[in-house]
């Protein structure tokens, strides 16, 4: 009999009951909650006269609607304000753990979960947010759910799920200098497509993945959903265990060692079989820039905007043509000739301390180009912001003409005041380049933090190593 995959192990450890048709009642250890996808769930609970099954599994935080500037003035948009206030009243009336906007621990839900040790290896983690896959980087089974499921987890601590197939994406070899986790995941999506992982749980493996920090692995798992997979994960190793050690909610002392002993078993067995395996050569991955309106529409920085005329599949060619029109790009334009108007460094994909360090390293001693109307850095949490300020990263950005903001989802999806105007082009470290995602009519190019920083300095896309000496 073949060995077990990491996914098998996580799944089996959480099965409460299995029906003959394979539907499994899966136990949920951690339920992250934010203001956008929870109000209707709390209302449903109330209308049915139900209480949370295990309130201590919940960690709630406002992130999508919060302002990233002048926070002491509160939220100007009354509709946004009501949503954040609704979260606060829902969670406080039920006594659930909550970081309000003014708390230094507030931040993007997928940044603060691991930061607080609220999400741990071996856990099942859910949130009404598709980027919940981020937490899989710790060797957890983490996936996004809809609001009906949020209510179901609140009421029962469980979800009915059918086990999906397992895919292993193995990236072997050494990444070239300047190639980051973000480039790896964009290259993966470019290869397998935005539906390539639909119906699968993806395990990212191989020497290139193991060489990444835990934060880098989070950037990769974060975008599993952009490849169609609800869950992405990386096996536990010593880096995982050291990352978790000392986190505020992680176990301590002897309990930590006992937990770590279990966590070390959270790897796929050598003889485990996957339903699909994708192999990639790390050395062939270049820094990536998206050119279209789907995250699979990516090109290497030294490449060109593709030509729909060269595409044989007519439905695909039409999609490409529509994307080029929306993006106002011509086929065969070198990626390095594309000139953004704005630069956004942030989001649950790329707003952790290592992301900010990588961007600051490029920006240091340089200035924002004149054609860049706004370059903003939005740390993923209050604690990331604090850490960055201790390291002087805020000064580097401010001296270069960037804006240094308060933590939140911000211009990744533009639910707060941070957004693109129609026609504006943005170099963004976020995860989605859909039409209108960053503001109606806005045009998004997905890139890594160092490429976003380089674009801000040069005024066009460029490899950081090609920038003039600072």
């Amino acid at each position: 009999m073949a060995g077990k995959t990491l996914y098998d192990k996580l799944w089996e450890a959480h099965g409460v009951r299995e029906e003959p048709d394979g539907s499994t009642l899966l136990y949920i250890d951690r339920h992250l909650v934010h203001e956008v996808t929870s109000p209707q769930a709390f209302e449903g609970l109330r209308l049915a006269g139900r209480k949370p099954w295990r309130g201590d599994s919940v960690l709630a935080v406002p992130d999508h609607n919060v302002p990233t500037a002048d926070r002491d003035k509160g939220i100007a948009d009354p509709v946004s304000r009501i949503q954040v206030e609704t979260l606060e009243s829902n969670v406080t009336s039920l006594g659930l753990k909550f970081f309000p906007m003014a708390d230094v621990r507030q931040g993007i839900v997928h940044v603060i979960g691991p930061e607080q040790g609220a999400t741990l290896p071996g856990m099942t983690v859910v949130c009404g947010d598709s980027h919940t896959s981020t937490h899989g980087a710790l060797g957890a089974l983490a996936f996004g759910i809809g609001t009906s499921e949020v209510e179901h987890v609140l009421a029962t601590q469980c979800l009915w799920q059918k086990k999906t197939k397992a895919m292993q994406i193995r990236v072997e070899g050494e990444l070239r200098p300047g190639v980051t986790a973000k480039d790896v995941v964009l290259a993966i999506i470019g290869r397998i497509g935005t539906a390539g992982g639909t119906g699968y749980a993806i395990e990212f493996a191989g020497s290139a993945i193991r060489s990444l920090s835990i934060e880098g692995r989070m950037s990769i798992c974060n975008m599993s959903i952009e490849a169609g997979a609800r869950a992405g994960m990386v096996a536990v190793d010593e880096k995982t265990i050291e990352y978790v050690r000392g986190k505020p909610q992680a176990p301590t002392g002897e309990m930590f060692e006992r937990a770590a002993e279990y966590w070390r078993t959270l790897v796929s067995d050598p003889d485990a079989e996957f339903d699909a395996v994708v192999e990639m050569d790390a050395a062939e991955i270049a820094p990536q820039v998206s050119w279209g309106t789907s995250p699979e529409m990516v090109a290497p920085i030294d490449g060109r905007v593709p030509d729909p005329a060269a595409e044989s599949d007519p439905v695909r060619a039409e999609g490409m043509q529509r994307a080029l029109e929306y993006m106002d790009l011509k086929a065969n334009t070198p990626m390095t000739e594309i000139r953004p108007d704005k630069v956004f460094i942030g989001s649950c994909t790329n707003s952790r301390i290592e992301d900010l360090r990588a961007a600051a390293e490029v920006v240091k001693g340089r200035k924002k180009a004149d054609n860049i109307k706004l370059a903003m850095v939005v740390p993923g949490s209050g604690l990331v912001k604090q850490q960055a300020e201790q390291e002087g990263l805020d000064r580097i950005f401010l001296d270069a003409g960037f804006e240094w903001r308060e933590p939140g989802c911000s211009m990744c999806l533009a639910m707060n005041a941070d957004r693109l105007e129609p026609g504006e082009r943005c170099a963004s470290t976020s995860n989605r380049n859909f039409e209108g995602r960053q503001g109606q009519g806005g045009r998004t190019h997905l890139v890594s933090p160092s490429l976003a920083a380089a674009a801000a300095v040069a005024g066009h896309f460029i490899e950081p190593s090609a920038l003039k000496e600072a």
Partner: protein, 216 residues
Amino acid sequence: MQAFTVHKGIVAPLDRSNVDTDAIIPKQYLKSVKRTGFGPNAFDDWRYLDPGEPGMDGSKRRPNPDFVLNQAPFDQATILLARKNFGCGSSREHAVWALTDFGFRAVIAPSFADIFFSNSCKNGLLPVVLAEDEVQNLFEQVEANPGAQVEVNLEEMTVTAPDGTVFDFTLDEDRRHRLLNGLDDIALTLQFADDIRAFEERQRREWPWMAERAQG
């Protein structure tokens, strides 16, 4: 949840693949704390020529005449036909609520994103997966004969095209049962409360750190 057994209605052809949930309901409408009222803003960016904000009077906006749902008889459609990977992107259930609030009862496509599919089944909006050539066939029939009705039958798991052709589809038994009967998921799960408690007992013994109350 509204049960789904058999539904016959007009099909709106939305000839795009990768229709994402940002397109189905743009972010500014997610600020609502209600489950209803999203229909007028379904596909807002494609449906209107002027930018939309919550609270705007829909009758004063400029509809995009080129968008299928602004064209008779498709403005009365109750079945949506689209290309592959429908509902990709964000987990927002608001996308499903926008479609049901518009009046849709079913979406037919060659494939769906996982979270959208699951959300859809929980709101009585039936996601029907047909093969690409069957979807192509339906597009051709509906475009040649706008307003032609299609029947979606969940009991039989069939789609009957305007010309009488019958296409079979599948849905897992558990979801089908819940949809056919419009069952409340939570009440069903709570029948297994003892199993859940037994699991928690075992977890406390084997992995006591998992359920520790977070401090702070």
